[in-house]
């Protein structure tokens, strides 16, 4: 047991482990102490001077972020002196801020706005012209920087120093001319840039991807797991279900990913948007391929299956689906029907052991381990070598191919699909609308995206759960469990 200290916070006894700051203790107690520069995932800067609290017996107010709670300390965040200090700290932050909220992407989730409502609500005393600074700077592949909006909290500088260790950012010049920027000839080039947008308490850093696309208050967010690699970061997916549209992904604090996620993961919403998504099932069983209702396509496939011999059937399965889906799929095809030819769809160029030291792993599948376990559970081996060649050689006449959800993580996808062209009948289950471009695909079922289903992955650090699905952005889309269920039903009546 670590030592604890008990101190008074706004009259209430609070016990925390020794060494905790008042800021941390207050957060645990649900007492909001306004702050800009403090961030749980970064070192303490103590520069915004916003988190002032009163400690009994001390002449000056203290900053809660750098104040260790000690036994018997009496701290107040509600005294008039503290409130006045908060109000003025906010005013100091705002006097040179452009207040361009109507055109700022941060509006609606901006600390300046939130604190104005909670500790501000004053008439500004500022009568002088504001300091002007560079705007709309292209500082990185993912980012645009507005140095006028910046309140110089230095979170981004510390992120660059401490998390990515890339040191591209600095605060240049002094006094109210102090300006955030990149060092000469430096640019943000790493895979974690968009975290700067998240940790920036204001709208200084905006994401090139999200910029000007949506007002955040129109968005709904749901918890999910990033499907982009085996780390399985906890994320929030932001979308507008009424428009069947997704707009962005942000990390959610967890033990797996801390406060961060990589830039690649930020884009794994786009494949669920209408443009590029397979909008309807395809069936080419009766003559040429055409769009049909999903149920019709499933019925067509059921008939095709029932007319085929089990030995002519094969499955090609990618590791980007949930454990529950694999269980249903393999139960139906392997356990019940007796299909023996099950191949894994893997990207040959990936080096699964790679790790960038922060979050991003070389295994670009959320559920490699889950698929291996599911195969083992039905008595199959976990082969990953030469799977496409073996499939081609197997002479299978009916192939159900479970395409990777994230086509972009499979650079060899096109080549691989072309290999399927020789096979007489391929039913591709996929979310990717490009499937129609491949003549070798005879049949397709539109799949749900990861944010639209419940289930679990087995990531690098264990089981990761998808629990809060959005309604499917495409009414025709199904997950594997639903597809297999429908197949089973139709087959039962054949």
């Amino acid at each position: 047991m670590s030592e604890t200290v008990t101190f008074k916070l706004n009259g209430k006894d609070v016990s925390v482990p020794k060494g905790w700051t008042v800021m941390k203790a207050a957060a645990k107690e649900g007492v909001e102490i306004p702050h800009f520069c403090y961030h749980e995932g970064l070192s303490i800067a103590g520069v915004c001077r916003f988190c002032m609290v009163k400690v009994e017996g001390r002449p000056k107010l203290e900053i809660a972020c750098n104040l260790q709670a000690t036994e018997g300390m009496v701290v107040s965040t509600t005294e008039d002196e503290v409130k006045e200090a908060h109000k003025w700290a906010l005013e100091f932050h705002l006097i040179n801020h452009p207040l361009d909220c109507p055109i700022c992407d941060q509006a609606g989730e901006c600390s300046l706005q939130d604190y104005y409502m909670s500790v501000g609500k004053y008439e500004s005393e500022m009568t002088r012209p504001k300091v002007l600074k560079p705007k709309a700077l292209d500082v990185g592949d993912q980012l645009v920087l507005d140095t006028e909006r910046c309140i110089l909290c230095s979170r981004c500088v510390r992120f660059e120093e401490e998390i990515t260790k890339t040191d591209a950012l600095g605060i240049f010049n002094r006094g109210d001319r102090a300006t955030i920027g990149t060092y000469p000839d430096k640019r943000l080039e790493h895979n974690y840039q968009t975290n700067l947008v998240d940790i920036c308490p204001v709208g200084a850093f905006t994401s090139k991807d999200f910029r000007f696309k949506q007002r955040v208050w129109f968005l709904k967010d749901k918890k999910a797991i990033c499907p982009g690699c085996s780390t399985g970061c906890e994320v929030d997916v932001y979308g507008k279900p009424e428009d069947s549209h997704y707009y962005r992904i942000k990390p959610r604090h967890s033990e797996v990913n801390g406060h961060w996620m990589c830039d690649k993961g930020r884009y794994y919403y786009d494949h669920m948007n209408p443009v590029g998504r397979l909008r309807k099932a395809i069936s080419g069983i009766e003559g040429s391929r055409k769009f049909v209702d999903t149920d019709e396509a499933i019925a067509d496939l059921a008939r095709k299956i029932s007319n085929s011999s089990v030995s002519d059937m094969a499955l090609l399965v990618s590791p980007q689906y949930t454990n529950e889906e694999y269980a249903a799929l393999l139960e139906f095809f392997v356990t019940q029907m007796g299909v023996k030819n099950v191949y894994q769809w893997r990207e040959p160029t990936e080096s699964t052991e790679d790790f960038d030291g922060i979050l991003y792993r070389g295994d670009h599948n959320a559920n490699t381990a889950g698929l291996a376990a599911a195969l083992k559970a039905v008595g199959l081996e976990n082969n990953i070598e030469n799977q496409f060649d073996d499939l081609a050689k197997s002479g299978a006449k009916l192939v159900v191919a479970l395409a990777p959800e994230l086509s972009s993580t499979y650079p060899s996808l096109k080549e691989q699909i072309n290999k399927l062209e020789e096979l007489p009948f391929v039913s591709m289950w996929t979310i990717d609308g490009k499937v129609f471009e491949y003549p070798g695909i005879n049949h397709a079922i539109p799949m749900k995206g990861f944010a639209e289903k419940k289930g679990s992955f087995i990531g690098h650090s264990g089981v990761r759960k998808l629990e809060q699905p959005f309604p499917a952005g495409n009414e025709h889309a199904r997950d594997l469990v639903e597809t297999v269920e429908a197949l089973t039903k139709v087959m039962a009546h054949l």
Partner: protein, 421 residues
């Protein structure tokens, strides 16, 4: 008037700053005495002398040294803060040019006492001449065997280097200085941890002012009691004052603490020139609140009197404001200075110094009305005691003081400009 000088002992002598002159005046004997003393005994002696830091804050030197943790086999550092940048202060420059070896000897003793084997003298960049003198003195001390390894066979190792930043005021703040010495942007560091535990290169570091170090050899040689013969109970010793303004004999004066301000002005400096009258006095550098003529009559130059009068002794920079000077212009110079020199790290200082500057310049331009006067006070009031270092306070105090003492005069100025907005 002549006073007994401790620090400026060699002032005016031929080759005043050479090691020979210093040795002829008993130089480098204190370190030999100290080398035979127990480290704790030296700290106790410095504590007993009551020596307070001469850089501005007046922190007891012996106490500061006692915070340094015991040796752990890793380096500790000793830094001489010669980054004298407070407007009106030019005493450390004078010491550097008159008696640089006394700085070195003081550092030697300090280094031995706290267990630092590496020292730096950090001078402000503009002291190009004095940097030359200091480098020459360091060279002489090395040649004479007072610096380096196992100096004069005492087992004491002390290497000393000179360094200068790029001329920022903030590098005179000890942690700003440390940042600069580390090669970083000169910005004060968040405390705790304090430099005595985590300073230069995150190792225990003591930073003392130039003049502070110069008091050490005397204390070692003559003891605390002799030192306490000068000055007052709470402010023992002598102090250098750099006094400027429309005086007949402005300059650097070494007088015992507790000396009469009026006497310094009237007798030592020969009074004001051309029949000018005192309008106010800045007693401790630009950041010190003003003393008004009635206060000047009774003020004594020591920490406690200045504090009682609502000002501070600071670095001992006395600036005489005479009746022909314009307070709005003086306030502008003050606010411009701090706005220029704020490092920009802490929000109240970064934004507040700029705001004050803009308000005062608005008054001069005629775009601010009388409300600006109260606003200056209000803004300054909320800059005070809110930041990592004291620059924000240093900017706030004079602004408040000008408004408090000359508010009506500033409002009359605005009236004359014709802006009632």
């Amino acid at each position: 008037m002549t006073h007994e000088k401790i620090i400026l002992a060699t002032e005016g002598k031929e080759n005043q700053r050479s090691i020979d002159t210093y040795l002829a005046n008993g130089g480098y004997t204190a370190i030999k005495k100290a080398a035979k003393m127990d480290r704790k005994a030296i700290i106790d002696l410095v504590k007993a002398s009551g020596l307070r830091g001469r850089g501005g804050a007046g922190f007891p030197t012996g106490l500061k040294w006692s915070f340094v943790p015991p040796d752990d086999g890793k380096p500790k550092y000793l830094i001489c803060n010669n980054d004298e940048s407070e407007p009106g202060t030019f005493k450390d420059r004078h010491i550097s040019s008159v008696n640089p070896h006394m700085i070195i000897e003081g550092m030697l003793i300090g280094g031995y006492t706290v267990g630092a084997e590496k020292g730096y003298i950090y001078s402000r960049w503009e002291f190009q001449l004095e940097i030359g003198y200091l480098e020459q003195a360091i060279k002489e001390a090395y040649e004479a065997g007072f610096l380096g390894q196992n100096i004069f066979g005492s087992g004491i190792n002390f290497e000393l280097d000179h360094y200068s930043g790029a001329g920022a005021y903030i590098c005179g703040e000890e942690t700003g200085l440390i940042s600069s010495l580390e090669g970083k942007k000169g910005q004060p560091k968040l405390k705790p941890p304090f430099p005595a535990l985590e300073g230069y290169l995150r190792r225990p570091t003591v930073v003392n002012n130039t003049e502070t170090f110069c008091n050490i050899p005397h204390i070692i040689t003559h003891g605390a009691e002799v030192f306490r013969r000068y000055g007052t109970e709470k402010s023992p010793g002598t102090k250098l004052f750099s006094i400027s303004g429309a005086l007949n004999r402005p300059g650097v004066y070494e007088v015992p603490l507790g000396y009469s301000l009026k006497k310094l002005i009237e007798e030592d400096c020969g009074g004001l020139k051309d029949g000018k009258k005192i309008k106010a006095v800045v007693p401790g550098g630009m950041s010190a609140p003003l003393l008004m003529p009635a206060q000047v009559e009774t003020a004594t130059l020591d920490y406690e009197c200045m504090q009682e009068m609502g000002s501070m002794l600071g670095s001992g920079a006395i600036m005489i404001i005479d009746d022909q000077q314009d307070v709005v212009d003086l306030l502008r110079i003050t606010t411009d200075f701090f706005a220029h020199e704020s490092c920009g790290q802490c929000t109240p200082c970064r934004e507040g110094t700029g705001w004050l500057k803009n308000l005062v310049n608005g008054i001069l331009e005629g775009t601010e009305g009388p409300a600006a006067v109260d606003r200056i006070y209000q803004v300054a009031d909320h800059m005070e005691g809110r930041t990592i270092c004291a620059l924000s306070d240093a900017a706030a105090w004079p602004a408040k003081s000008y408004v408090k003492n000359f508010g009506e005069e500033i409002k009359a100025y605005i009236e004359k400009k014709g802006n009632r907005a």
